[in-house]
């Protein structure tokens, strides 16, 4: 209870100075969100890796703003390091550990739907070139184009 009062008094003293900061952070978050959408529209579906890097970097900055100002981590004592370091390290370690799975593909894409799709693409390509495709491996169902 005493702790609660101490915490309340500390925040009361700082409340006025924080008010402007909250608005600035709000504007920054809105601008960064708009930038993400603009990046998506400007990208037009091309260069997805670059787009991913841009929007995830923006997301990191947004998260930093929320944690620092809205969650008051910027104004908290050193306890925050002791409390958040383990989970922070583990979260980063998990993503690093998943890195090889994200970056490397160990197996060929031999799943049935991809195989059927590839057969269809082959069939379409031959069909456009004016070749007869009778008996070339594309069955009745394979003739159906994949609709997206």
């Amino acid at each position: 209870m005493t702790d609660g009062h101490v915490s309340g008094q500390t925040h009361e003293a700082e409340a006025h100075s924080h008010h402007g900061q909250y608005l600035l952070v709000f504007y920054a978050l809105c601008v960064l969100t708009a930038l993400s959408v603009i990046a998506d529209l400007a990208g037009g579906g091309k260069g997805r890796i670059v787009l991913a890097l841009i929007v995830l970097t923006i997301a990191c900055f947004k998260a930093l703003f929320v944690m620092m100002y809205f969650m008051h981590l910027k104004f908290e004592g050193k306890w925050k390091y002791a409390l958040l370091a383990p989970t922070g390290v583990l979260a980063i370690a998990l993503m690093v550990a998943l890195g090889p799975d994200i970056g490397m593909h160990y197996y060929d894409q031999q799943v049935p739907q991809v195989t059927e799709e590839a057969q269809q693409a082959l069939h379409d390509a031959h069909g456009e070139a004016g070749h007869s495709e009778a008996g070339q491996g594309a069955d009745a169902h394979g003739k159906a184009p994949a609709e997206h």
Partner: protein, 307 residues
């Protein structure tokens, strides 16, 4: 006696209220929870070339995600202002900000519900999506059967006939049931004759997707029973896409609901004039939790809606 000059007793632990410490520890576990989900999503996404990204296919709208991001940012500001009002002992103002936060949370869930409705109406659900032409045609056949209700009726007709042949059950009741089922099948004779050719072609694997779509459109024009049958089409990796979409956004939505419950309690206290300094930590904890919900969405928005 030395009581007057004794040094204050040492206090162990971190210099924050126990409730706040508990909330931060809980948020630490939550970080791991969502990191695991997001990491798994990225692995699956990167390992699936041809992952559906076209909004016309996925029915994921950037405007909806962007609006929800804006709504959550606004709610983060309102909750932090409620916390500030509590620190200044202005409980009436704190109640107003909490009320606004709760309203914004409702708006968020409203938009999310609209998005979910789109997924359900287009049947973009785990284990429902056709990932090859074969699966698309099989699904079409199943849905047409279900729309006519004929397979179920014929199965019931057979069951009754078997019971009659075995002499089991009340003869009179069975005869009455059979009469009812026969009548229902007879009523559907026209629709059966109309959709049977398409059904047979699918069974014989003698039709392409565009042909099946054409045939379905003609049936739908004439028979409203087929209105609910989905247009047969393929979405490569559509099942894993919908699984991860509903897992990530669903767990986030559950967190939103929990936050709303906390805000509802605070709002009720505020409206009944029982919100006091004692609840400062409660408001602060609700705020911390809500900012975390916002934080998760900050990453979900680019991952699901943009990339």
């Amino acid at each position: 006696m030395t009581h007057g000059t004794a040094a204050p007793a040492l206090k162990m632990g971190v210099p924050i209220p126990n409730g706040k410490l508990g909330m931060w520890l809980f948020l630490g576990t939550e970080i791991m929870f969502f990191t695991a989900f997001i990491g798994t999503y990225i692995v699956l996404r990167m390992g699936s070339p041809g992952w559906p990204t076209d909004p016309e296919v996925t029915h994921i709208r950037v405007w909806a995600g962007g609006t929800n991001t804006f709504v959550l940012i606004c709610s983060s500001v309102s909750v932090v202002l409620a916390h500030e009002a509590m620190a200044m002992l202005d409980f009436r103002r704190a109640t107003k900000w909490i009320g606004l936060t709760l309203t914004l949370a409702c708006v968020f869930l409203g938009i999310k519900s609209y998005e979910y409705y789109g997924k359900f109406s287009h049947d973009i659900l785990p284990n429902h999506v056709a990932e090859s032409p074969t699966q698309a045609l099989d699904k079409l056949a199943r849905e047409m059967d279900a729309a006519t209700g004929l397979p179920a009726l014929k199965a019931e007709q057979n069951n009754i006939k078997q019971l009659q042949a075995l002499g089991q059950g009340n003869e009179e009741v069975l005869a009455k049931r059979l009469e009812g089922v026969d009548k229902q099948i007879a009523d559907r004779a026209e629709i059966e004759a109309a959709y049977k050719p398409l059904r047979e072609k699918i069974k014989a694997q003698n039709i392409t997707l565009p042909e099946s779509r054409e045939a379905l459109a003609k049936l739908q024009e004439k028979y409203p029973q087929f209105a609910g049958v989905h247009d047969p089409h393929v979405i490569l990796y559509g099942n894993i896409f919908s699984s991860t979409y509903f897992l990530l956004t669903g767990f986030h939505a559950i967190h939103v609901l929990v936050g709303m419950l906390m805000f509802a309690i605070i709002l009720w206290r505020g409206l009944s004039n029982t919100l006091t300094t004692e609840h400062a930590v409660l408001v602060e904890n609700a705020g911390l939790y809500w900012h975390f919900v916002d934080l998760v969405w900050i990453f979900l928005f680019p991952l699901i809606y943009i990339i």
